[in-house]
């Protein structure tokens, strides 16, 4: 083969590679583009054939009409309260228990840790009915407490924190003990700062999971004033199900999705690192 044909072959392989990436990328993006575009259309533009890609005259009033149907501000606030509270709880409980399991020796430690691993194998749907009943007995149905408290601790978080903390050298802790640091002080001044990577990975995973959580709020929430974003969207879907209000559904979906994508694009590096990390640890 001549140098020129090798060169040509390389160029065509590279062209093919980009063609595949672009085609796949368009498939990934098209639903989002159509969502935003049709949220600004008149119903007859959505129903039109041949297909209309973009509205002739973007109707931002669809968003005003949406605000009469559902209170997005309230939904965002509810989602934020619930997600921040559970994420903080998961960070605190996982780091405390991770420290206990990785840096202390006590009778029964390994048995207890195996039990934590065993609960990691229990998917949420298996315990849905009893957890709902317990929350009902506690009087927390249809309340923030009911939304938040059952999710404050995850076995996965404890596992992840413990694995990471095993790698922090004992000498550091011993040195701090010699200097008279309390165990709580060691936790707060040494373990937490040195566990930055694992805790930020955990924070991102917990945040995304809780923000998008649907099944549990669906069961535990009864009133619109406590609806999180997914619950509000679900009632919007039922409320606006006829073709002449599809634009409202799309406006609702846009309001739910765009801020999350903005946050993701800003913090992309941390998202990717966090997920890669859990993949390798698991």
């Amino acid at each position: 083969m001549s140098a020129r044909s090798v060169h040509l072959q390389r160029a065509s392989v590279s062209l093919l590679k980009y063609a595949v990436l672009v085609a796949g990328g368009l498939v990934m993006l098209a639903p989002f583009i159509w969502m935003v575009s049709s949220s600004l259309m008149m119903p007859r533009e959505i129903l039109a054939r041949p297909l209309v890609w973009f509205p002739e005259d973007p109707r931002f009033s669809n968003y005003a009409a949406l605000s009469h149907a559902v209170s997005f501000g309230r939904m965002y606030l509810n989602s934020l309260i619930v997600t921040v509270a559970t994420t903080l709880g998961i960070l605190l409980s996982s780091s405390l228990a991770g420290f206990g399991f990785s840096k202390f020796r006590f009778p029964g430690r390994d048995v207890l840790f195996v039990m934590v691993l065993a609960t990691m194998m229990i998917p949420f749907f298996v315990v849905l009915i009893p957890v709902f009943y317990i929350v009902h007995l506690l009087g927390w149905v249809n309340s923030y407490l009911g939304l938040i408290v059952p999710n404050l601790v995850t076995a996965f978080g404890i596992f992840l924190a413990r694995q990471y903390m095993l790698g922090i050298p004992d000498e550091l802790l011993d040195a701090a003990r010699i200097d008279g640091a309390s165990e709580l002080g060691i936790y707060w001044r040494i373990m937490v700062p040195l566990s930055g990577p694992v805790l930020s990975a955990l924070a991102i995973l917990a945040f995304v999971y809780q923000w998008n959580n649907f099944l549990w709020p669906l069961v535990v929430i009864r009133s619109d004033s406590l609806a999180t974003v997914p619950i509000g969207l679900n009632s919007l879907r039922i409320y606006a199900s006829s073709p002449d209000v599809v634009n409202l559904q799309m406006a609702g979906a846009t309001l739910a999705i765009i801020p999350v994508i903005a946050v993701f694009l800003l913090l992309q590096r941390y998202f990717v690192q966090g997920i890669a990390m859990t993949g390798l640890k698991g």
């Binding site: 990436l21 990328g25 159509w34 049709s38 129903l47 297909l51 996982s94 004992d170 993949g279």
Partner: protein, 309 residues
């Protein structure tokens, strides 16, 4: 261990009278206690309670002590007398099989592409990963409209390409595959990121050594990439199977199990049995059965993929 070193420096106090080793153990218990209490109340106890309820007849309204014990009849009813249970079971397995195979292979394909010398890698990664961070409910609403046979985006595109209109979600024959496609679109970026991390974990020296030995691109892939990626593949297959057997959000919003139960899946059926029909005994029995399937599948996969190492 250096408790003895630490002991010498400790200030005198009440605590000082407790032996250091025991105090150390006590601190350990204190750190794990809050988490263990929560796991007990919201995971372990409910798990045992699920098994207990599955042997009873309960509507959640009558007090626990008065619920009648029915032995295994909830299980035998589901297995021998409830065709819908079997249909949802088959749907769930079909969904999981399609979802796992397609998302895993597409995720791997994109990761392999992005692992070559490619411009704007960060941008591509963001584009493919983006759906994963968005709410499954929001994207299901969007996709339900995309699939709409009269005004949907897909129908419009089909018309531009002179293809016949398709019923998608409204036909029993196409509904399940249509839901699988949404699931793949939503989740593939997650697997891509994990595969990319796995690929980058394979030492570059191995590739260079193979090159020096005269291995071509295919041989480098077969004898360096594939074995190096095995632990990642194991993780991805186990995790994706676990999550797709539990599918709920997509089938709830896209089709609510229809048409004629063509996309009714086990967790959705369990949810309806429990919270619409208040048959807690039957619903918990379903939960236990699906749990056994998930647990068994995970064990089999771990064994199969480990053996080949």
């Amino acid at each position: 261990m250096s408790y003895s070193v630490a002991r010498g420096k400790l200030a005198e106090g009440v605590l000082e009278r407790i032996p250091v080793r025991r105090r150390h153990a006590l601190a350990g218990y204190m750190f794990i206690a809050p988490a263990l209490v929560f796991l007990f109340v919201f995971a372990l106890l409910p798990f045992l309670f699920t098994i207990y309820v599955s042997l009873h007849d309960w509507n959640m309204l009558t007090p626990i002590p008065t619920m009648p014990f029915v032995g295994l009849s909830n299980y035998t009813y589901l297995i021998t007398q409830d065709p819908l249970f079997w249909q949802t079971f088959v749907n769930t397995v079909e969904f999981a099989l399609g979802d796992v195979v397609i998302s895993t292979s597409l995720g791997l394909a994109v990761a392999l592409l992005l692992n070559t010398r490619v411009r704007l890698r960060g941008l591509w990664r963001a584009v493919y990963f983006m759906p994963y961070v968005t709410s499954s409910i929001a994207i299901s609403i969007v996709w339900a409209n995309i699939y709409n046979p009269s005004y949907g985006l897909l129908d419009g595109v089909f018309q531009l390409l002179n293809l016949p209109s398709q019923p998608f979600l409204s036909s029993p024959g196409q509904a399940l595959i249509s839901v699988i496609i949404v699931s793949v679109w939503h989740g593939l970026g997650y697997y891509m990121v994990i595969f990319l991390a796995g690929l980058q974990n394979i030492p570059a020296e191995l590739y260079e050594a193979a090159k020096v030995d005269g291995a071509g691109a295919w041989h480098r892939f077969r004898f360096v990439t594939v074995p190096g990626l095995r632990p990642t593949l194991l993780f991805v297959v186990v995790v994706s199977t676990l999550s797709s057997l539990q599918v709920f959000d997509l089938t709830y919003v896209l089709t609510n199990g229809g048409p004629v139960n063509a996309t009714n899946t086990l967790v959705l059926y369990m949810y309806n049995t429990a919270f619409n029909f208040l048959k807690m005994g039957r619903a918990t029995a379903m939960a236990v059965l699906l749990f056994i399937v998930i647990f068994g599948m995970t064990l089999v996969q771990l064994r199969l993929l480990r053996e080949r190492e």
